[in-house]
């Protein structure tokens, strides 16, 4: 398994052809208290860089973008009842959706953990 990161602060953990997607700890700390999260429907077709999910803090609504192109295989239903999971465990139980990847080569442009840390430190 390997985990990649986008410059829009999503993480994607890849296992074979499928992957789990969420937002990073840095992203949740910037958003503040999450009060609502909307995950994509199973079967939805997402394109890399396109809108995938919505996360709302007290203050504002933000889009979560698809790190890769593919078909959604599962949404995290737990977020409907407990959107604060995105704050308390953003890179674990606060995941947003699972996706079946169209093209594994799309991962090439993403950051690994060290590169993402350097990116966040530079902000």
């Amino acid at each position: 398994m390997s985990r990649y990161f986008t410059d829009e602060h999503e993480w994607i953990e890849v296992e074979g052809n499928t992957a789990t997607v969420g937002i990073t700890d840095y992203a949740q700390s910037q958003l503040g208290d999450i009060v609502f999260a909307e995950v994509p429907a199973v079967g939805a077709s997402l394109s890399k860089g396109g809108d995938a999910a919505v996360v709302e803090s007290v203050k504002a609504a933000s889009d979560v973008y698809a790190p890769v192109t593919g078909i959604v295989t599962e949404g995290n239903d737990a977020l409907a009842d407990d959107p604060a999971l995105v704050n308390s465990d953003p890179e674990g139980a606060g995941w947003f959706f699972k996706i079946e990847l169209d093209d594994l080569s799309e991962l090439d442009g993403l950051m690994d953990a060290a590169a993402y840390k350097a990116f966040v430190d530079s902000l």
Partner: protein, 371 residues
């Protein structure tokens, strides 16, 4: 963001950063949006006391012969009835009766002390200058900061270091001494809670903020919670819930049109405004409760069936309500509390119900009628 040279610095800017604030641009200033988190700060203010830096707001003294009569041409409130040390919420009106700003006016021995919104303060001053007689002096108190201490324990906390503040009732103001430093303090605010607003010379504001935060009841609170608190209190945010295209009756501010002024008129737009008072406005600012968890925010259109009947002007998650709430304008046929409507959010309909405001009861320390 924080190195944006366009942003002006508040006297407490470094103080906020040292307290861990995240700074954002608001009304042209770099201001704290939050410290530990909006929810925690909101709840702390409702249960204890929160310190807000509102130094971006404009503090003015209007003075000169017949200043109250002169200002009354531009606002619908009964300003001449204000006794010294009493204050009133009012509205600055354009010639057509549109709302240019909402403001607080206090009668003081040196003139009328007026607090206006930060985002429009320079426009307000220019409008006042152009529309008040030449003998009226407008003194912009740029050497003063403004703090708000709000919450059920606010007055207890400040009275410990500034004796006598607890003697004020809601919408009363006076000069108090903090040691040897004079403070202009009013029992007022914009959270729906009891509390005070404190005008202090810029050179003493850091020291005062420290002294207030040294009280166990007090924590600094950012703009994020200020917004959620005022929304729950049903208080409009100028530039969002009211603007030059709205008149006071539409803006749910008929209470600010005093009895004598209704009888006499004689203020900007009085013909239009008094007509709206007697006939009812064509549309009105109302509150909404929201079914479900989706926050309904500014700009969301409001429908009855297929017909758009209004628009949301403020909205979000309300921490003390535990659900999303909103306010917005709807056509007069749909303003009765209990009316079922729908908002559209990201292409989906979200059920709304027109609700009486405030959403959370005000806890102002009002002077009893007998006193």
């Amino acid at each position: 963001m924080s190195d944006d040279t366009e942003m002006l610095e508040l006297p407490l800017g470094d103080w906020h950063r040292a307290k861990g604030a995240r700074m954002v641009s608001f009304a042209g200033y770099s201001m704290p949006i939050q410290y530990e988190g909006i929810m925690a700060e909101h709840t702390w203010t409702r249960s204890s006391a929160g310190l807000f830096d509102v130094s971006h707001m404009g503090q003015l003294i209007l003075s000169g012969d017949n200043v109250t009569a002169a200002l009354e041409a531009l606002v619908p409130g009964d300003i001449s009835a204000l006794k010294e040390g009493r204050m009133r919420y009012s509205l600055l009106l354009a010639h057509d009766g549109g709302v240019l700003d909402d403001l607080m006016i206090t009668a003081t021995p040196t003139g009328l002390y007026v607090v206006v919104n930060g985002a429009v303060k320079h426009q307000d001053i220019a409008f006042l200058r152009a529309n008040l007689p030449d003998n009226i002096a407008i003194n912009h108190l740029e050497d003063r900061a403004l703090l708000a201490l709000q919450g059920p324990k606010a007055v207890e906390a400040i009275s410990r270091i500034v004796p006598g503040v607890d003697q004020l009732f809601f919408m009363e103001a006076d000069i108090f001494l903090w040691g040897e430093i004079p403070l202009w303090i009013s029992r007022s605010g914009y959270t729906g809670e009891d509390g005070v607003e404190i005008s202090v010379a810029v050179e003493h504001v850091t020291e005062l903020a420290d002294a207030l935060c040294a009280q166990l009841e007090v924590k600094p609170i950012g703009l994020g919670a200020r917004d959620s608190l005022r929304l729950e209190a049903g208080l409009p945010l100028y530039g969002h819930d009211m603007d030059p295209s709205t008149d006071p009756v539409e803006g749910n501010a008929s209470f600010a049109i005093s009895k004598r002024r209704r009888a006499e008129g004689g203020f900007h737009g009085s013909e239009r405004i008094l007509k709206a008072l007697s006939d009812g406005p064509g549309r009105k600012l109302v509150g909404f409760t929201v079914e479900g968890k989706v926050p309904v925010r500014e700009g969301a259109p409001v429908f009855e069936g297929e017909t758009q009947v209004g628009v949301v002007t403020s909205g979000g998650f309300a921490p003390s309500v535990g659900a999303p709430i909103a306010m917005g304008y709807v056509a007069a046929a749909h303003i009765a509390p209990g009316t079922a409507l729908e908002a559209e959010v990201r292409g989906k309909r979200v059920p709304l119900t027109v609700a009486s405001m405030p959403f959370i009861p005000h806890t102002y320390h009002r002077r009893g009628k007998a006193q």
